[in-house]
Each structure stands twice: as structure tokens, then as C-alpha cells.
Symmetry: C2
Subunit: 136 residues, 2 copies
DNA sequence: TCTTGACTTGGACTCTGTCCATTGTAGGAT
DNA sequence: ATCCTACAATGGACAGAGTCCAAGTCAAGA
């Protein structure tokens, strides 16, 4: 955790109480919170923090590669603090729960050159969908 | 095309001019339009068609499995008429263009049982990201 | 301690999508 | 061919997620 704050400071971040709280909320447990959920949790510690600041901070963390944005359902984006460990997602089609999963193999090698249409392919996301035990 | 209209009629769809136009727009070329783009194209042929009807019709087509919903960017959902041929998507991180691609291998078999956490996994989506030739 | 440019605020605004009461009509029944 | 009616379309209000901006605040270097 303090790792994260250190890295951010090292990158020239001005360390404000708002940014610290947002970083701490994300680092708390590895669930996948929406921006508004992050805001709600941050506001428990810092009641006057604004939504705009949370959005700004999340955007910066994403740019810095410290956090990954996940949009699995076309609704609110979710923020995944587990950005330094490659993984994919397993989503419950009914309740929306997300779990990190680690498939074997690398889908990048499964896309032959003639299927790349001249794109410079740099990343791949895999989303598994199904029903979680509670919803099944 | 008329295939599609036939299938829909066979499923008890009441065939209105609005539904016909939406189906024809989707069937036109295999691009991935947003709901508002579908509405704009439909309105060229049927100026008084409402947004609500387009949303309703798209939702029905998705339920019937004739069209797939794709949300790659957390912005507007896109509608993929190519629902009867399994494929994945390649998205340009800069301009948002989407291409259908056909990777080899099946990512479902790459998810071991101990990584399924009791979920009943039924589907998997793979999204490749990169820069298209025009943006690179 | 002072200064200043980066950061935060909150409210207005945009975009995407949903809801609902009202009006219209496709297509089976007569 | 006409009538009925359940299903569909309309459009305007509303909601959720996110962005923008002008004004005020403050972290941190001098």
C-alpha cells in the first residue's frame, strides 16, 4: 500500500488528502468498485470529497497504469487495483459479481497475423460469463 | 436479409415498418453501430421513428439472439448483426473502430476448474486492443 | 513564511438509456 | 372488406454515469 503512495509521490504527484484516501480505498481489498462506490467509501473518511475529484484521481491512476478500468456490462465502469498481476475476469450474468481468474495460455498468440488487419495489437481482455454459485 | 425478417415473423413478431427498417439497417453492412447511429440511419428512411422504438427493437433482437450487444469502451453499446458466426473483436484504442476477428483455440478450455469458483461458465468474450493502421 | 501552480469543489451540462401514458396499427376474426 | 384488440410506437420526462469549468484552496519548493 504505502508502496503505491511512494510510487505516486515518486512520479511527481502532489499528495493531497483526497488522493491519499482514494488510493487507500482502492488498495483496501481487491474488489472491483465503481467510481461512485469509491466515492462513497472515500467520503466515509473525508466527507467533503467531491465526485469530480474521485473521477479525476481514478483517471490519473489508470493513466499511470496503477489501476485498470473494467467495463463488463455497459453500465458503470469498475476499477481494478490488481493491475500489476495479469489476470482476466469472470462475471456473473445475474448479479454482476466479478472475480479475477488466471486462464492458461495466451490469447495474443491465438490471433494470427492475417486476422490483425494491420493493427498493432498490444493488449487482450478476456471476460468469462456465467452464473455464480449463489445465482445458479 | 429477408431471412432475418422471415425468422422474426416466424417467431410471432408483428411486422411493423419501424421494425423492418431497424432490421434492414443492421443487416446493411456488418459494422458495429451504436443505438443512436441505428436510429439516425433508420430515420433516413422513416423520419418519424422514435429513439425509444429503436432501443426496444434492438433489445428484442438481442433477446432473440439475432444481434449481439458489444460494450467495448464503457460508452455507448454497439450492436453486432453477425450473431450467427462466432467471432471476437479487435478494437482501435484511438478511434474506436471495431473489426470482427477469428482467433484460433477456445479460451473456454483455458479456464481450469479450480479457476471457476463454482460458476457455471457459459460464454467468453475476447477483446483485442491496439492501434489501427490509420491511427498508428 | 510566501508564492504559485497544481488540485479540489460543486453545480451545470452531456450522453446514453429507461419509463410511461397516450395514440396508432397489424393482422386475425367476422 | 371491415372491425377489434392486443401489441407496438411515440415523445417527453426522468435517471445514471461521467465531464467540464470558473472560482477557491493548498502542498511543497524557494
Amino acid at each position: 500500500m504505502s508502496d503505491l503512495l511512494e510510487r505516486l509521490r515518486g512520479r511527481g504527484w502532489r499528495m493531497t488528502s483526497q488522493r491519499r484516501v482514494v488510493a487507500e480505498v482502492l488498495d483496501g481489498d481487491h474488489v472491483h468498485l465503481t467510481a461512485d462506490e469509491v466515492h462513497a467509501r472515500a467520503a466515509r473518511r473525508l466527507p467533503e470529497i467531491s465526485r469530480a475529484t474521485v473521477y479525476n484521481t481514478l483517471g490519473e491512476l489508470v493513466s499511470l497504469g496503477e489501476v485498470t478500468e473494467v467495463s463488463t456490462d455497459g453500465r458503470a465502469k469498475r476499477y481494478d487495483p490488481n493491475a500489476h498481476h495479469p489476470h482476466q475476469h469472470l462475471v456473473c450474468s445475474s448479479c454482476g459479481t466479478i472475480r479475477d481468474v488466471h486462464p492458461t495460455g495466451d490469447p495474443l498468440v491465438d490471433l494470427p497475423a492475417e486476422e490483425r488487419f494491420g493493427f498493432t495489437v498490444s493488449d487482450v481482455e478476456v471476460t468469462y460469463r456465467g452464473l455464480c454459485p449463489a445465482c445458479a
